[in-house]
């Protein structure tokens, strides 16, 4: 499989579009800030990676929807598709849908209806498409929809597909994590011995995929999707398990027809929770074996926060930009790597220069849903 990726878009705490986000990441500039949308008096953890779009202060409904429309619009424009996407399926991966709006509706009486809990209504209004899908697959959701989008093209059901991911932080998710973190993390520290957990972030990302055999007039070719593996741990609702995480990596390579030693860069899921990082690096070591010291390893969550359902595609968009520029954003906040990561080529402190032709992107989520994508540069 070599599915052309012909457009990208993103919005996050660190930037309003894909270029601004990438520039921020390469500069080591994170988006962590004082909590804006929630009452900080209620929480131990008073910092989040929020998108600063509420100058008036008070929270409001449908922010996730706005981020999604923004990212999809950017990607469509980048691919030269314009604003009329009738006939173009749009597949959205999300962890939290518009559950933040449901919270504001129930708690504060904000106007909100069930027709906007999923994103089809807004996507149709804005872009005219009725073939939309909201997949609520926790933190690997947008890599899951990436797989579905590629499958749809392979089956010949569409010529062009837009795949997206989005989340705005819900107070319930932050609150439930905060409940068990009397000493919450003040920074997200992927793979660091002193990592103390993850910190949530707002974000959306989108890519435009084109059928392999579809002629198109040109425009930018960001790269090609080679394969996406997807598995389920079937072990525990919240704790990850290395067996099926490793299997997702192997499956991705089988589908892509590639080998671990071909990989130049791994974009980690890297949530900064004690267990995720350990499971991820253990599974990586198991799958890569003697090739584990080959690729450079990095991740974006220390700077974007854990953007949940959009995280996988946010990582993919960053990867495509790395391929285009040869610049690899660093894992900031990584002072002392865990023992299991010894000998690996972790990109630390500042951006690295590295030619990346083939990369592996990780996304794992609650419910043991694992997805791994392999992408090659143009």
């Amino acid at each position: 499989m070599r599915v052309p990726i012909i457009g990208v878009g993103a919005v996050a705490s660190v930037g309003r579009d894909a270029d601004e986000i990438f520039a921020g990441l390469c500069a080591g500039r994170g988006g962590l800030g004082p909590m804006r949308g929630f009452d900080s008096g209620l929480y131990n953890g008073k910092q989040l990676f929020e998108i600063d779009d509420r100058p008036e202060g008070a929270d409001r409904t449908l922010r996730a929807t706005g981020f999604l429309l923004d990212a999809v619009g950017q990607a469509a424009a980048d691919a030269g598709l314009g604003d009329d996407l009738s006939g173009v399926p749009v597949l959205v991966g999300t962890g939290l849908r518009e559950l933040r709006s449901a919270e504001l509706w129930w708690r504060d009486g904000a106007p909100f209806g069930v027709d906007r809990l999923h994103f089809g209504t807004a996507l149709r209004e804005r872009f005219g498409t009725a073939d939309t899908l909201t997949v609520s697959n926790a933190c690997s959701a947008s890599l899951y929809t990436l797989a579905l989008g590629a499958d749809l093209l392979a089956m010949g059901e569409a010529d062009t597909v837009i795949v997206a991911g989005v989340d705005s932080i819900t107070e319930s998710m932050h609150g439930l994590a905060d409940r068990v973190q009397p000493n919450p993390p003040t920074a997200l520290r992927t793979l660091d011995v002193n990592r103390r957990g993850t910190i949530l972030g707002d974000g959306a990302a989108a890519v435009v995929l084109r059928g392999e055999h579809v002629k198109w007039p040109g425009g930018r070719l960001w790269g090609r999707l080679r394969g996406v593996g997807m598995t389920c741990d079937a072990k525990h609702p919240t704790a990850p398990d290395p067996e099926q995480v490793a299997e997702a990596m192997r499956q991705a390579h089988r589908l892509a027809g590639t080998r671990p030693e071909d990989i130049d860069m791994v974009m980690l899921h890297g949530t900064g929770t004690p267990l995720n990082d350990l499971v991820e690096i253990t599974a990586y070591g198991e799958v890569f074996g003697e090739a584990a010291g080959g690729p450079v390893l990095t991740g974006i969550k220390p700077m974007t926060g854990h953007t949940s359902g959009s995280a996988g595609l946010m990582s993919l968009v960053t990867t495509l930009q790395t391929m285009a520029t040869g610049k690899v954003p660093p894992l900031v906040n990584l002072d002392e790597p865990i023992e299991e990561a010894a000998g690996l080529r972790l990109v630390r402190a500042q951006e690295a220069k590295h030619e990346v032709a083939l990369a592996q992107v990780h996304g794992f989520g609650f419910g043991g849903v694992n997805a791994v994508a392999i992408v090659e540069g143009s």
Binding site: T121, A130, S172
Partner: protein, 319 residues
Amino acid sequence: MRMAVTGVGVALPGADSATALAAALATGRHPGGAVEPAAVLGKKGLRYKDRATQLGLCAAQRVLTDSGLLADGALTVDGTRTAVLVSSNLGNVDTVCRVVRTIADEGTYGVSPMDTPNASSNIIASEIAIRWGLKGPNLMLCNGPASGLDAIRWGAALLRSGRADHVVVVGVEPDNEIARGLVGGPLVDGAAAVVLEHTEAAEARGATVRALIGAHTRGLDVAGTIGELAEVESEPAAWYAPAAATPSLAAGLPVHDLAAVWGELSGALGVVQCAAAVGALDAGADGPMWLVAGTDSDDGVATLVLRPPVPAGVQPAAV
């Protein structure tokens, strides 16, 4: 390669099988009763699971048994080749809303960490995977009124793309004060499920083909989507569709409106339609059945055709 429905699981108020579902639908009246998960699954392990997850597990247990994928408590097929797709819009909305209210009233000390898994909408799909070791692709669809038929479509896509050999599709909606507030009335408080497989896979393990999966469409309105369907499918023998879609359907045929019996079905609708249609086919009804979820006032309309299985002894023409 053709795809088939090889099992049906029903956990609806007053209906615990495809046959009972089709019979209750024929009466046009709510059969009464409620689904009691402890009676289906046993009490063990249910305590912290939300209502939607419990209902989904009930339908999943029944469909795994009915299809023969589960026998004597063990899977009869490779769990890594078995996918799970669940459709639900309101599934965990009650947990999320309850937690945010508790935080406002009592701070985070008032919330229970046991709610954490339920704050993630895919809890239903992951609990089904965990209970029976189903390690294939695991998807939670929350896609509005057409979501249930979307789940069937994407389940079939997982078979076609070779990502799975067996697909368990579940549609479930819980009834509670918060969900009612959002949809404006009582919900079904139940679930239904089907198993999808290639006919070759079904044949290889000796499973019964209950219905063949025909074409699907998704579009802006009812008339357009069924018009597209008519280009590739033979005339329907019956409709399964929301009442609001009826004006766009060919007159003179039975129209089965499940919401008239069970209340709002939301994301469960398409899967319950499939279960009911298979129940009718099991009882000897004529096919094909045309299924419609979503109406002209929704964000999209999905359709699906279910055809009767080829009768035993009748060999399809070689292709």
